[in-house]
């Protein structure tokens, strides 16, 4: 994998994929900080958790003022990921350990998590699945698959599978959150996260990210019911299987995209050239018929379908 190919890959990425990559990069940096910085003496134990929460709040504010839907969603996505990370930092209890793990203990812990993932225990729906998988990998899967639907590299049929996988991943994440919901030790922060998600959903009119929050909220309720009624074992294998499918589709998306890279680059360049040409033509047309936006809007409203309107029950 040469540097030039990496550069080529980055330039060929769609904005959505770049943002997904950046979100993953951000998570990796946070993970690194999480692993490295607690070893340093003199730091208050909860600082990283607070940093994540503060960053999440800042990015959420950016989302509020972001004028474009895509930018708004990206910012909100990052904010949610950071919030989730903050929750995990809090819940994992790592930062609350009386003594920080030394290098060997840390490696053993990470190795244990990796082995747990590799052992596919989570596929069987065993409670206590590795947090690393759930909190870091699932959002990544969901974001990748949602991006896949927005900027597709796969055929339409596979895209539908990817979309289903994305929602299942989000649902599984919600179930996990719901599982934590009734644990006394982790009660406060999940409730807070749910409240933030709900407020964001309401603030944004349940029109965009509100819908993303709904399966998480619904999943939380189901998780809670599963915990209370002790039916967790029944639904968990199914959801774990769906998550495994989502993971496989994610991997296929990235692999397929990587293999098709040269063709995608060519398509992107051709598309960009066509878009530039279209833009130039549109600008020329607008220059010939000012005012630009007014005439465009008038044309849209003049169209037959627009004039027909749509069903509403009254005449105003």
């Amino acid at each position: 994998m040469s540097l030039s190919r990496l550069n080529l890959a980055w330039s060929a990425m769609s904005p959505w994929r770049r943002r997904s990559g950046m979100a993953c990069g951000l998570m990796a940096i946070l993970l690194g900080l999480w692993v490295f910085l607690p070893q340093q003496p003199g730091l208050p134990p909860r600082w990283l958790c607070q940093l994540c929460a503060a960053l999440a709040a800042g990015i959420a504010v950016l989302a509020l003022v972001s004028p474009e839907p895509a930018g708004k969603r990206w910012h909100l996505g990052c904010a949610v990921l950071l919030l989730v990370t903050a929750v995990e930092l809090h819940l994992s209890g790592w930062l609350l350990l009386p003594t920080k793990p030394d290098g060997a203990a840390l490696m053993a812990l990470l190795q244990g998590q990796a082995l747990a993932v590799a052992s596919l225990r989570w596929v069987a729906g065993v409670p206590g699945w590795p947090w690393l998988f759930w909190w870091l990998l699932l959002p990544f899967i969901a974001i990748t698959l949602i991006a896949q639907n927005v900027q597709p590299a796969l055929a339409p049929r596979m895209r539908r599978v990817a979309g289903l996988g994305a929602w299942l991943a989000l649902l599984a994440l919600g179930l996990r959150l719901g599982y934590f919901f009734v644990q006394p030790a982790g009660l406060a922060l999940p409730v807070w996260v749910l409240a933030v998600l709900l407020v964001m959903g309401v603030l944004f009119g349940l029109g965009s990210w509100g819908y993303a929050a709904l399966p998480i909220l619904a999943g939380s309720v189901f998780g809670l019911l599963g915990r209370v009624l002790d039916t967790w074992q029944l639904g968990a294998p199914l959801l774990a299987g769906c998550t495994a499918l989502a993971l496989a589709v994610t991997a296929a998306c990235w692999l397929h995209w990587w293999l098709r890279l040269p063709a995608i680059v060519a398509e992107a360049q051709a598309s960009r050239a066509a878009a530039d040409a279209g833009m130039a033509a549109a600008q020329a047309a607008r220059a010939a018929a000012p005012p630009a936006s007014a005439s465009d809007l008038q044309a849209y409203l003049d169209a037959q379908a627009a004039q027909e309107g749509a069903d509403k029950y009254t005449r105003e």
Partner: protein
Amino acid sequence: MSTRLSPEQQWRELTSPARLPGLTPSGEAMLRRLRAHPAAPVFRDFSGHRLTPAVQWAQRVRHAFLRHAGVQPRVHGAPPAWLWPWWLRQQASVAAWPALAALRHGWQALPTTSRADLQADLARHVPRHLQSPDLICFTTSGTTGHPIRVPSTPATAASYAALHERALALHGVRLRARQGDVGVVLAGFQQRCFTYVSVNPLRGECGLAKINLHPGEWHHASDRATYLDAMAPELISGDPVSLDELATLAMQHRPQALLSTSMAMSDGQRNRLVARFGCPVVDVYSMNEAGPIAAFVQAAQGFVLLQPRLFVEILDEAGRALPPGEFGEVTLSGGFNPCLPLLRYRTGDHARLVMTAFGPTLRDLQGRPPVRFLARSGAWVNNVELTQALRRFDLQRYALHQAADGGLCLRVAGPASPELAPTIAGLLGDWPLTILPLQAEDKVRQYTSELSPPSR
């Protein structure tokens, strides 16, 4: 439009996936039933819900919000909490809105907008990212001389139903029509109007028909009652003119409710319709720019606000917010149409905003700018007083004009009560009064005068 096509072409147009995405066999059966009944009128046009399955699911969630979320908690004071994030979100994409710096003087300092602004340059009031070929268009009647075209979306049009259900719930009516039923008939009464059939996918593809009660649109005038009895719609909507015509039909069917929009309805007419159909008559204050705003509730003695994301202020002529109960211009911010977010939009209608047990309520609503009439005594009488005096009469529509010499002309649709002249004379004195029939089919300006009151 449709009458020029062959039956097969008409069916293809009617059921095209663009108009009715995801139409099921039961939906098709409903369309056939609405069109093929022996007494059915001539359906001249096509329309549809245009809601894709994904948008339908989104609308189900949205409808729950619109039906149950609270409206503004106060009738005076700071804007509701949702308004600032909403404003910040939209600010960069609506060209006509002031810059962020304008906020430093607070909400009250933001400039107001009016119909004339929308008419002059609509594109500057529509978010740039929503100016797309997917828009649909509704046109205002232009009663004030400013007809405007309102950009909208199918999802926004579908949201009307949720707000209507909210208005009906205020009267204890819950809609239950599902698959196989006819949900709503929209009744017009004009020489010519847009007529079509459709289905509502959010309620089991129950039927919807927009009909024209004008006898010229039917094979026989008696078919109107036959058709409505056969379809048995759960809800009939219209305006005071068409509902008045509806009341003359020999139909036996009793809908769950009648919904009146578009024009003011008098107490007398409302009572007569209630007695005739034995169901609530819900008068909705609604406009194309903002959708259904409020519904009349007798117990609240006014129009109760309906929309959870619509901030209603009452402003004076200088744009200052008035205290609760003061009479001023109804001004709107927010709204459920993302294509036309309203920022301090002066509706041209006037009312008092008070808090009642039903929530914020508009009282003494006057559909157009107030007009003052010169009384014989030299006093100036506000049209609100005239409205209150004429409310007890069963007037379908009326228009009062005062000429430069003080003479009055009252145009009335339908029979004029002999008590009208003494009532007006009681308020304005013994000016010469002419009472004529009102011929116009559509909205009219209710009060006009050639005299100008002295500035206050």
